[in-house]
Symmetry: C2
Subunit: 404 residues, 2 copies
């Protein structure tokens, strides 16, 4: 990639809705053969930002580039800094692979990787990303393809690594009030299990883990800060969007959003790619099954269970899938603050604690205890239960809140 | 659709690459619940323009909307005119139909129509349009579905109507120098056949009919002007992009462009929809077949021939498909000016005229003469040939040039 020109950034009072547009002086663009709707790479301090080009002679002078507020916010950039602007274009190999897949043919790992790489690094336009998204609806991917998609997706962004047993609990979601994570993490880490927990913001429930955790502590941390939190407390409760884990996932979700529909197999890819990038090697997946949950019936739940187990195993994880009944909200409170109050009541063993929430959390925690090999069956359940009863989980939670 | 607010247009010195963006004052947008990336309808003089929203407090004041140069050019709008801004959103039925099709199910006519309508009227985002485009690669449409797509696509834009026999000649293209249209139109209209000929700009050849005709005369006319030209001369040679014929086609081509790939069946839909909207009832389709043409082999050519014939018949046209050998350029000149010189030499029966071009034009013209029932076989060929030899075609061409 060759440098084209250097320019000073100018903050324009302009919101483009995360289209991430750069405005280049029209004459200067013309000199360099850049057109509106091209993509360029803006380089600043060894980081590349891929942006869509618009042109203007009045908004920006030569050797100035205009950036919208979205770009400033997203990348936390300063105004009046010197950046270099160079061409980008999608990898020809990625387009060839995409055409091959649209033609109904199977892709090998290298081909899947080159597509994920271009999507993850914003070199694919929305149109190209949508073609790749559309394939998920039409063509039933083989288990091997799902694994290769998850691996490629995980490897195109930031990757974390922790020594030893690293466990995670993931809930497919879709049921309000189902806030077991905030009970399970302190409970399990108080037993010495390492759990670097990331979560996304609410997609399908009124308040997901992110919103709930944020009631008590900060959730945005850098890779370095997360590594320090895990070193200190054996765990973290952080928002994954602050990291660049499996960045192609976010783009694929963006093009799935207008349909409010994602294929089940792509959901498996999305979740497992993020666990893999996070360095997880023991994973419990909770599939709530019920008429209003994401998974409406046992047939779908079992199909998903097999895919999670296969993909996880190939990615080097021990995976346990629990299919849980989800025919009504859990606990009595819906909404972040009320849900957090219920979580705290369980941790504090308050007499008004919701027993359904406690029971689900202890049960799922016992499954992770089994997964990492600390105890089995009734012993595992008792071990989990005692961490609540003894106050060890509540003590751990206070340490976590202090650290974050 | 309810009016939201009125505003004065402001021309911003800004090229957005035909994204067709409207910039709305951020506070005002907030008051009306409009966000960046929404689509709004801008109404001016009873015409609706659907535009993508960006927000700014500095570029535009309250009750001002900023428009890029692209919007001004495309819609030929004035600055400082009062427009009304209202919400738009895609028809929920179209999204439901799209999901159904992505699920592999067949759509009925109403469902196809609602999708074409939203695409054609810019209510579908690029992402949604791409999903519909992607289906063309995966799922082999039935002949009935192709017909319904062409009908729906044709009916969602402007439609022209002419009395009696209305003929057209269309070449699928892909071979340089293949400029028979400019010979055939004056030749055939000098026999009294009505031929309102539209063309697109070059996609696959160095200079297509549009570029060639434009060497001699104007090619951009309104619907009304075209009707007058046909009334006067029995024909026109005009750029179809100036009309809004089958407007969904242009959007579907836009999302096919980054792949430089369109499915054959969608090509049939695209071509027949435009003929249908143009009021054609006798159509000759020339499929050049050869290693570098769009159609590389006889199997594909024959498959296409059947689809053109079926869809045409269902749209009420008489269709004749000619598969022509296309293994080398035709004529000696490549490029608009040289090709036009060769066309004129054929019309003028100049001694240096390219005989391969003349032969192909006369042969194809004889097929249209057969199609509309003026003469058959050898008689048709002689009739066509005589219009060249007698100078009647050349005389007609001069009238056409004068009129345009």
């Amino acid at each position: 990639m060759q440098d084209v020109f250097h320019a000073k950034t100018k903050l324009l009072d302009y919101v483009d809705g995360e289209e991430l547009v750069i405005i280049i002086n029209e004459e200067q663009a013309w000199d360099h053969g850049i057109s509106a709707m091209d993509k360029v790479v803006m380089k600043y301090k060894d980081t590349d930002y891929v942006l869509d080009v618009s042109l203007s002679n009045k908004l920006v002078k030569r050797n100035e580039v205009g950036l919208s507020e979205d770009v400033y916010k997203k990348y936390n950039l300063g105004a009046d800094v010197i950046v270099s602007i160079s061409f980008t274009q999608t990898n020809g190999k990625a387009i060839d692979a995409l055409k091959k897949a649209l033609g109904g043919k199977k892709l090998n790992y290298e081909e899947t990787k080159t597509i994920m790489d271009d999507i993850g690094h914003n070199r694919f336009t929305d149109i190209l990303t949508t073609y790749y998204g559309a394939i998920g609806f039409f063509k039933k991917a083989s288990d091997k393809e799902l694994f290769e998609m998850a691996k490629a997706m995980g490897e195109t962004g930031e990757m974390l690594h922790f020594d030893g047993v690293v466990a995670d609990k993931h809930c497919m979601g879709g049921v309000p009030g189902n806030e077991t994570t905030m009970i399970m993490i302190p409970l399990l880490t108080s037993l010495g299990i390492k759990m670097p927990k990331t979560f996304s913001k609410a997609i399908t429930t009124p308040a997901a883990t992110g919103e709930c955790v944020n009631v008590l502590m900060d959730i945005s941390f850098s890779k370095k800060q997360i590594e320090n939190l895990v070193k200190k407390n054996n765990c973290c409760l952080v928002w994954g969007g602050g990291l660049s884990l499996a960045p192609a996932d976010e783009k694929l979700i963006k093009v799935a959003y207008p349909l409010s529909m994602q294929s089940y197999s792509r959901t498996v890819v999305s979740i497992m790619a993020k666990k893999y990038a996070m360095g997880i090697n023991h994973s419990l997946i909770d599939i709530p099954m019920g008429p209003t949950a994401k998974v409406p019936d046992m047939k779908t739940a079992k199909w998903l269970k097999k895919r999670y187990e296969y993909v996880g195993k190939k990615l080097g994880m021990k995976v346990h899938v629990e299919i849980t009944k989800a025919d009504q909200p859990i606990g009595a409170g819906i909404g972040a603050v009320l849900q957090v109050r219920e979580v705290l009541r369980v941790l504090q063993q308050h007499e008004l604690r919701p027993m359904d929430l406690q029971n689900k959390a202890v049960y799922l925690a016992s499954k992770i205890i089994e997964l990492v090999g600390l105890a089995k069956g009734k012993k595992a359940y008792e071990l989990a239960f005692n961490q609540l009863k003894s106050g060890a989980a509540w003590k751990k939670m206070q340490e976590i809140i202090k650290a974050q």
